[in-house]
């Protein structure tokens, strides 16, 4: 540094020499020091682009460059005689000797590795230089290692094998979206990790998605990362909650989602891997892992994946996304928080809509606990045969909801904690109520709109299903629907 400072001062006092000294520094703090302590003309290269483009391996490296940018001399590290010789050549030997006491400087110093060749950074710099969309850290799996075991060991997995997210596969996945790979689409709790399109693509590869599923996964990630949905609480709760993803609109057919036979089960790649990709993004970018911030008492298998499409064409009613304010031709992702289910509603006997909707109510009474009213919401999946029974009597969704509320309504005195079960209104609260209040009936759900209804399943079988919700409303999680913008 003394040499550079002396040289800088010398050059500033000379008018006849067309020589400019520029110092490139690789860290913001170091650059500040150079500027403050030695008044050197420092160019900030903390993003390392110049160092990388100039192939610098060692610092210090001294380059003599002409006006066209051609390098004529490159001195690596500090070899006193080399620096002396170069300056003698440029300034003359007398001026060089008079600059400072050269014998006070070490004869040789090897220098250090340049940050631009740090293995953790160099790959990113190479990708930027090549204009590649990939910026994620590259992890090399040693030839003796099994990459599947390696990914388990790194904690990337939900417990099942993952597809290795090689750069080639991730590039193919990114072809499924028009969005910029580096666009940050969300901050994922609990670690508030930045979720870029590229990171979602990596997790989508691992989950087994095809590129055309990526817009659905991206939209689902955006939907859960809202204050209304509250993915932080959904993951952290001891209750064992998890998102259910429902897809509506033309994209269902385009990517081959299952909405018919076995829609809520296994066997369809789009359903299975879209739900899994969402969960892997939550795990790997948010850091929600069982035993860490994910603290479910029992867990539930829907935490692996839960995604299906609504069979809109089989439904006589408005589809879920249309009810929630979108156009029928929009492709929309809706996310709902479930804690149980799908619990089966087995009714092969009711022939009237009133009876069948009554069965729905009787079965939904068990959500959380029969005595627990106004506590949760529900996603009711009505099967086609049940749809037929309901429409035969002209039932619309409002009538289904009203019937459920009607058959579940119980007087508050029956909803009080007692010797049979402590759940319900607390004795001290009940003691404050007058007789009229105690006889007042409360339906199962605070609002009829807390009963969300979709149609799915095969044409044969009188078995509907229900996902019971979690703490609903502002205190917990509110379902969120989001249009897949890039799909027309």
């Amino acid at each position: 540094m003394p040499l550079l400072a002396v040289l800088n001062t010398y050059l500033a006092g000379q008018t006849g020499i067309a020589l400019q000294l520029l110092v490139l520094g690789q860290t913001v703090e170091g650059n500040q020091q150079l500027a403050d302590a030695h008044a050197l003309p420092v160019i900030d290269d903390s993003d390392l682009r110049v160092s990388f483009a100039s192939d610098i391996d060692t610092v210090p490296t001294l380059l003599q460059v002409d006006a066209e940018g051609n390098t004529s001399t490159e001195l690596i590290g500090f070899v006193r005689s080399e620096w002396q010789a170069l300056l003698s050549n440029l300034l003359g030997s007398d001026a060089t000797e008079q600059l400072l006491d050269w014998t006070g400087l070490p004869e040789w110093r090897p220098g250090c590795g340049s940050l631009s060749v740090d293995p953790l950074i160099a790959q990113r710099l190479q990708a930027e230089a090549d204009d590649s969309p990939l910026r994620a850290r590259r992890v090399e799996v040693a030839i003796q290692d099994d990459e599947f075991e390696f990914m388990f060991d790194q904690g990337f997995s939900d417990g099942l094998p993952l597809v290795p997210p090689t750069p080639e596969r991730v590039l193919r996945m990114l072809a499924g979206t028009r969005r910029d790979a580096q666009e940050v689409i969300a901050l994922m709790p609990p670690n508030m990790g930045e979720v870029s399109v590229e990171k979602v693509a990596i997790n989508a590869v691992m989950a087994g998605c095809r590129p055309e599923y990526l817009p659905v996964v991206l939209t689902a990630v955006e939907a859960v990362c809202t204050d209304a949905f509250n993915i932080h609480g959904v993951m952290a709760t001891t209750m064992g909650a998890s998102p259910v993803v429902v897809v509506n609109g033309p994209i269902r057919e385009r990517i081959g989602m299952n909405m018919k036979l076995g829609a809520l089960g296994q066997g369809n790649r789009a359903n299975a891997t879209i739900g899994r990709a969402l969960r892997l993004v939550v795990r790997n970018l948010g850091g929600a892992r069982p035993g860490g911030t994910e603290r479910s008492t029992l867990g539930n298998p829907m935490k692996f994946t839960m995604c299906f499409a609504e069979w809109e064409e089989r439904s006589p009613w408005s589809a879920l996304h249309v009810e929630r304010g979108f156009a029928s031709e929009d492709s929309v992702v809706s996310v709902f928080t479930m804690t149980s289910g799908p619990t089966l509603i087995v009714d092969q006997d009711s022939r009237k809509a009133e009876q069948l909707a009554g069965s729905f109510g009787l079965c939904l009474e068990n959500a959380f606990h029969p005595k627990s009213h106004f506590a949760t919401d529900v996603l009711l999946v009505v099967c086609p045969e049940h749809v037929d029974t309901l429409i035969r009597d002209g039932y619309d969704k409002a009538e289904i909801r009203a019937r459920i509320q009607q058959v579940t309504a119980r007087p508050i005195e029956e909803l009080a904690g007692d010797e049979l079960s402590g759940v319900g209104f607390k004795p001290e609260a009940v003691a404050q109520m007058d007789a009229e209040t105690l006889r007042r009936k409360l339906p199962k759900f605070r609002n009829p709109e807390d009963i969300h209804i979709v149609v799915a399943g095969s044409d044969a079988g009188k078995f509907s299903g229900a996902f019971h919700g979690w703490a609903t409303g502002e205190i917990g999680s509110i379902p969120v629907s989001k249009k897949i913008e890039e799909v027309s």
Binding site: M206, H232, E474
Partner: protein, 92 residues
């Protein structure tokens, strides 16, 4: 050799040590109710015991709007600025 791309946010979590246990309780103790059922009962009892055993210690009650979400920043700052200790009650 297979190269894969890192699926995580590439940040190493910050390691935080537990604050050393102070030899005695003094100043102000914040009692934070996270709004789970009956958390307030636990804190009522604790506040009573603190008043009996450590009458010189001041206790201040706080509560989160909901147990399902992290405490709002303003609440955290308020507790940080006004308290020497915090007891957070999880209950059910």
């Amino acid at each position: 050799m297979t190269t894969i791309l890192d699926p995580t946010d590439e940040r190493k979590p910050v390691h935080r040590d537990v604050t050393p246990r102070p030899p005695e309780i003094s100043g102000t103790v914040a009692l934070l109710d996270i709004s789970k059922p009956r958390g307030s009962l636990l804190l009522d009892r604790l506040q009573q015991r603190l008043a009996e055993r450590l009458p010189e210690v001041k206790t201040v009650r706080y509560s989160k709007p909901t147990f399902t979400k992290p405490a709002p920043d303003t609440l955290r700052q308020e507790i940080l600025g006004n308290s020497d200790f915090v007891v957070e009650a999880l209950a059910d």
